[in-house]
């Protein structure tokens, strides 16, 4: 019971920062890069994936499990809510509805490819310097 409360508190605390940070950064980037292409969400997702790779390497090296308060705070709550699939998918559909099928396709493929690469890069770099 106490573990569940600590866990819920850790997830909630991470999400309290992660969600608003995503909004702040994606708005900031959209303001500078324009709103024709969802650069803001793409940048948030890529940076969050890179950080997730670093975090996974660190957690592995220090023996933090998936249900440890450390992981629940930074990964499940923080980076989990910082990144988003729903906005990504919603924007992809909006581009397609707007007659920009190619851009939609490019956004979808770019997001998946760059995000998985970013996790791998973060993990590899952190392993290198650990």
């Amino acid at each position: 019971m106490a573990d569940a409360l600590v866990g819920a508190g850790a997830v909630a605390a991470g999400a309290l920062i992660g969600g608003p940070a995503r909004f702040f950064l994606s708005q900031l980037i959209a303001k500078h890069a324009g709103e024709k292409f969802p650069w803001g969400t793409l940048a948030v997702n890529i940076s969050g994936c890179f950080a997730m790779g670093v975090l996974a390497s660190y957690a592995g090296a220090h023996g933090y499990s998936a249900q440890s308060p450390f992981w629940l705070l930074f990964a499940t709550g923080g980076l989990g809510s910082y990144t988003t699939v729903s906005s990504f998918a919603f924007q992809t559909l909006a581009l397609a509805h707007d007659g920009q099928r190619r851009t939609a396709m490019r956004y979808a493929v770019l997001s998946v490819a760059l995000c998985i690469s970013a996790v791998a890069a973060g993990y590899g770099l952190a392993d290198l310097y650990a």
Partner: protein, 126 residues
């Protein structure tokens, strides 16, 4: 004009609820399904994608704060790209390339199909 702190509060509240729901899925899914495959993350990403577009299509007149609570906060906090990416990498690291490819494909196709379906169902008002 809505003050910025109210927008941030709505997003933070939605994000907390969405993340707790995602954590609950992480705890429950491995009890029924193969714990070696990230079923819970696949589920939340597809379900959250359905909810965001269903809500947008069903309640086009919703206020900015309600939209931020549900779409930016709740759906944004429920779904996660970083956990998806890590799950795919973890499958690749144990040489489960087929599973990694299936996971990425199912997430991508599932999420896009879900927003499309959410939009279709959300427009049906009767």
């Amino acid at each position: 004009m809505i003050p910025a702190w109210k927008t941030y509060a709505a997003i933070a509240a939605g994000s907390v609820v969405g993340s707790l729901m995602r954590w609950a899925a992480d705890l429950v899914f491995p009890l029924w399904l193969d714990p070696g495959f990230p079923w819970s993350t696949l589920f939340v990403n597809v379900a959250g994608s359905f909810i965001i577009s269903y809500y947008a299509a069903r309640f086009p007149a919703a206020g900015a704060l309600a939209r931020h609570f549900v779409m930016t906060g709740l759906c944004g906090g429920f779904t996660t790209f970083s956990t998806f990416g890590l799950g795919a990498l973890n499958l690749l690291r144990i040489n489960a390339g087929g599973e990694a490819l299936a996971y990425a494909g199912l997430t991508l196709v599932g999420a896009i199909l879900a927003v499309w379906l959410g939009d279709v169902f959300g427009r049906k008002t009767d």
